[in-house]
């Protein structure tokens, strides 16, 4: 991870954490009563209904490909094709993102193939104020 260190880059989602001088990571919120893991801050668990039992937890940077699609048609300006991947992380939590570093062909994609979470510039996308962003991606481990 080097590009992430670009000063002033913002996280693509508020559950991607960019602690100064440390590696980026994804943060889940885990229910102390039932163990369900959510993305983003919340106060009530939608699995069991427990209130104020959700504590932040660092999500793993390793996981397995659960499902995917290869996207050939998207909205104007979005580069295709790309692999939209659903990944189950080690230790819990499921996230969705682009799988990179592999040709988008079903032949190359096996269910449960190991992937790692990597952090890169958000494909050059900038917001209205010109800020650049750091995103997470998957690549074959």
């Amino acid at each position: 991870m080097s590009e992430a260190a670009v000063a002033g880059s913002l996280p693509v989602v508020d559950w991607l954490k960019l602690p100064e001088g440390e590696d980026p990571y994804l943060e889940g919120h885990k229910c102390g009563d039932c163990g369900a893991i959510f993305l983003g801050v919340r106060s009530v668990c939608s699995k069991c209904g427990a209130r104020d039992k959700l504590a932040p937890t660092k999500l793993a940077n390793k996981g397995k490909l659960y499902s995917y699609s290869i996207v050939y048609r998207s909205f104007p300006g979005i580069e295709v094709p790309y692999i939209s991947a659903v990944v189950d992380l080690e230790g819990g939590g499921t996230i969705k993102g682009n799988l990179i570093g592999v040709e988008p062909d079903p032949e190359n994609l096996k269910f449960d193939m190991p992937v790692e979470v990597v952090y890169r510039d958000a494909l050059g996308r900038k917001d209205a104020d010109g800020n650049s962003y750091i995103s997470y991606f998957f690549q074959p481990a």
Binding site: V12, A36, Y66, S67, S69, R73, F75, P106, F111, S135
Partner: protein, 380 residues
Amino acid sequence: MSDVYIMGVDMIKFGRFPDKTVPQLGAQAALMALDDAGLTIHDMQALYCGNLGQANAMVGQRILQEIGQTGIGVVNCANACATGATAFREAWMSIKAGINDVVLAVGVEQMGKGLLGGAGGGAGIPKEGLLGSGTMPAVFAEAGLEHSRKYGTTFEQFAKVSVKNHHHSTLNPKAMYQIETPLDVVMNAEMISYPNTKLMCSVNVDGAAAAVLVSEKKARELGMQRAVRVRASILTSDPYSDRDLVMPDVNAVTRKAAAEAWEMAGCGPDDINLVELHDCFATAEILHYENLGLCKDGEAGRMIDEGEVALGGRVPVNVSGGLLSKGHPLGATGIANIYEVSTHLRGEAGKRQVEGAKLGLTHVIGLGSACAIHVLEKVS
């Protein structure tokens, strides 16, 4: 509690009507359903209107401004692709509750062309194509490949759904398309989101459908010859499941609705003669054979391979052509499929008639998620 009956039901031919307004399309279907029931707007005690695109714009009232401002109560519903079915169910509930004896339900939608799904709004930068895809073809492709990982379901099996439904629509003059699409044509069509090709995505069309629902007392008064009994009306939202918030779980929400529907109807999937289910994408239809209990888990691929779900098969699915070929005007779909099943139960479906149909089921899913199921029964 009174049983509820459908006394009139109809739909306009689905298509593209840029010169019409949403209320005009809804009004057209409403008048057709009223004529079918032999009633007028003056007989209606309430209107339940489903529309998504203009959900904040009083579509139901504007329909009455087209066909008769009688001053009845109007409820406008929005529930994604379950919108029409939700309006129908609200109408059903008002009769079940004993509030009304005769009510009108209308579902209507005018669609643009192109992709549906989250374009990645909100603060920051667009997320589409960065954090995977929120487009509907991709979301349902991922749901389909989840079935592949469990049971080895193939691209070809998903594609066969589209071959079947396009074939069915050649027998339905109200469908958007009446075109045969052989397997190689479906599989070689433009790939939108693997494994969904363009011919495996539902068609964005304009459409409207409407139904007149009545109490048992009113049905006896009007005559039962063409009446259709509503044996079950169920609405669910997505129960918690592990990946639901990342990868919408269309299975759990349907399974919960199906279980409740069988309980309310007092019958089971083996009793059903035809099904109109939510084939928004070819991948989705395969999942719902199992979700609705039409076969055991893992047998959906075999169902499509062996033609059990084709017209003439054990339990024909989407003989209307389905969303894939009849078209999918979001707010109208949930009443259009009630029209289709009712038409078979009345023995009036012409060349696509499912012979001897006595019980049928309709199913829609609004992503986000809502599932509505209706079980309908032939009366006489």
